[in-house]
Symmetry: C2
DNA sequence: ATCAAAAATGATTGCGCTACCATAAATCGT
DNA sequence: ACGATTTATGGTAGCGCAATCATTTTTGAT
């Protein structure tokens, strides 16, 4: 019995042959350990912190749902705490640590805040950053390939016939912003379209910043026929501005977003966007933390870089440009 | 020990004096039962179904978060299942029951679908309807007072000086729609403003239906100076239409919503709305179900009608009308 | 080949609770 | 007031696992 327990918990002192035999038996008998008994017997109750500031609520909901689900499955406890705008990040992090946690998962934008990460590192709390593009040394990361995703979406737009594709960048402090811009540039380069700096407007991931950025792009002398916003909130804002100017979407202007949060399908037309599987990502984060913690391998945490798949979801906000330069054949 | 166990599980055979003594001791010692041990010892694992179709994603997220939290706390299991658009409701419900559930919680719009409710009733599954205004006989309900909330918000608008307040009704099949309209009418009556049917447009709780309804209201010869939409999605649509027509919100038009979902604060201006505490409501639903089930009192379920508090949250989408008839004093 | 040390395996115990049955106290009928 | 019921309380076992320590097997050095 004890040997089985050891195999399940990946403890060291078991011969490989025995381990294999046990695993074979487990598979054959379809055995699964009883969580209740396990924690009753004093198996350390794993507590995982979830610290967040103010990302989009839709993002957060999905994130929490995913982590709670996995926590339920693997018998861990999630301690959710919000750090208010303008509050001291280091202090909030210390408070969370003082509350007693074995590990922590961090959604953006906190997962790139050095104030938070430094405190965590000093306290040696295993950390998983979810949805960062540039994970800090020493923390695990669950992410999508932002650059490829942006490249795909841009290529899709170019494939539709758009030659002037505007881009609304994300918050400059977040690494995903840089990656998405990079992907956009790569797609242009691949298609042989020169990069035009005036087609790139600065945004900050908020709806309001999207409003301003869209104004800038649409006020250009030669405005873009398509706009790719770095997230859905800014894409929605772009649609609003287009409508305010009497432009039809996608007839007169194609608009695409990124993330596929609820907003993407509430507004009309529904947004063509990149789907980032948020709930799945937070689920993986909890799973990773629990397995590392249970097997006392928290030292290994920093080596984990899990990239999950994204998906281009095409809806009603994109179309070929009204006048297609490519098709203007003579005669 | 056994007596304590009995008191905690509200089993019948305990003298009242003993019960009180035990409860006193529990309070004094700050005792809390160990969930792991409880389920290890064979206490029935409670499984609660959560069946949903396609409400707003924001609503659903909050709903799921609340129920999962409470489920974690009270050691129950939530089985989430979606019924696709156009699928057979009765069949989906039967499938869920076949999966083995002890109770079920139902968000709108399923909580008023007789196809679902009849199957549940026949199988004698304790049911809690969350956020209905007109709970069916035999099911418990957690709700807010939709009518009072709508009355308050309308009164607030009138207090601001609006005399012509437009109203976008919700889906006619849902009881909350009727209650909200009723509240609107009551507030008008209290203020001595005659009810004008042309100021009420039909919506269906979707963004797109809100677009149409807002068009109708703003195309009136004498359009309203304020519009109260029966949910936030339709309010957001109204803001979009106002902008498309070159109207400033709230300068030229006041717009208010209902529910306070994420969308209310993403768009600009942020919506003044009625906050419905969705997560809290689903938490209460699970709590109720678990306590009834554990104490084997599922017979009592239908007697529960829990009304939780709503709140008017004022943000930036409302203001006094530009020309205030009331203040046009002579001289 | 022999023994010491290290590694692997096994036996026992107890985590906190409830099901089940035994006992004690209260209630009732005559 | 007394036994026959009913009702309330207590004792014990065991749920499935891991911590701990005891035992066996393997390994390595001589």
């Amino acid at each position: 019995m004890m040997t089985v327990s050891r195999v399940i918990n990946s403890e060291p002192k078991v011969r490989q042959s025995t381990r294999d035999a046990v695993n074979a038996a487990i598979a054959e008998l379809n055995y699964a350990p009883n969580r209740a008994a396990r924690s009753l017997a004093g198996a350390a109750q794993i507590r995982i912190g979830l610290l967040y500031s103010n990302p989009s609520e839709a993002f957060l909901s999905a994130f929490i749902v995913g982590s709670l689900e996995e926590a339920g499955r693997s018998d861990a406890q999630i301690i959710v705490q919000k750090v208010e705008d303008g509050a001291d990040l280091a202090q909030a992090t210390e408070r969370m640590i003082a509350g007693g946690i074995d590990g922590i998962i961090l959604p953006p934008p906190l997962n790139e805040e050095s104030a938070v990460l430094e405190v965590l590192e000093r306290a040696a709390i295993p950390t998983v950053a979810v949805s960062t593009a540039r994970p800090r040394e020493g923390v695990a990361a669950i992410m999508i390939d932002d650059r490829s995703a942006a490249r795909e979406l841009t290529a899709h737009l170019i494939g539709l016939g758009h030659q002037r594709v505007g881009f609304i960048a994300g918050h400059p402090d977040l690494s995903a912003s840089g990656e998405r811009l990079e992907g956009y540039r790569e797609a242009l380069a691949e298609a042989g379209i020169p990069y035009d700096e005036s087609l790139v407007a600065q945004g900050y991931f908020t709806y309001r910043s999207g409003l301003d950025a869209a104004e800038v792009l649409l006020s250009l002398d030669n405005p873009p026929s398509a706009i790719f916003a770095s997230n859905d909130d800014m894409a929605a804002a772009t649609v609003a501005i287009a409508h305010r100017r009497g432009l039809d979407v996608p007839g007169d202007l194609t608009v695409c977003g990124f993330d596929d949060v609820a907003l993407a399908t509430t507004i009309w037309p529904e947004l063509t966007t990149i789907q980032q599987p948020i709930a799945q990502m937070s689920r993986r984060a909890v799973e990773l933390l629990v397995s590392l913690l249970r097997n006392k391998k928290q030292g290994e945490i920093s080596t984990h870089r899990i990239v999950v798949d994204h998906k281009l979801v095409r809806r009603q906000s994109d179309a070929a440009p009204r006048r297609r330069p490519v098709l203007r054949v003579p005669g």
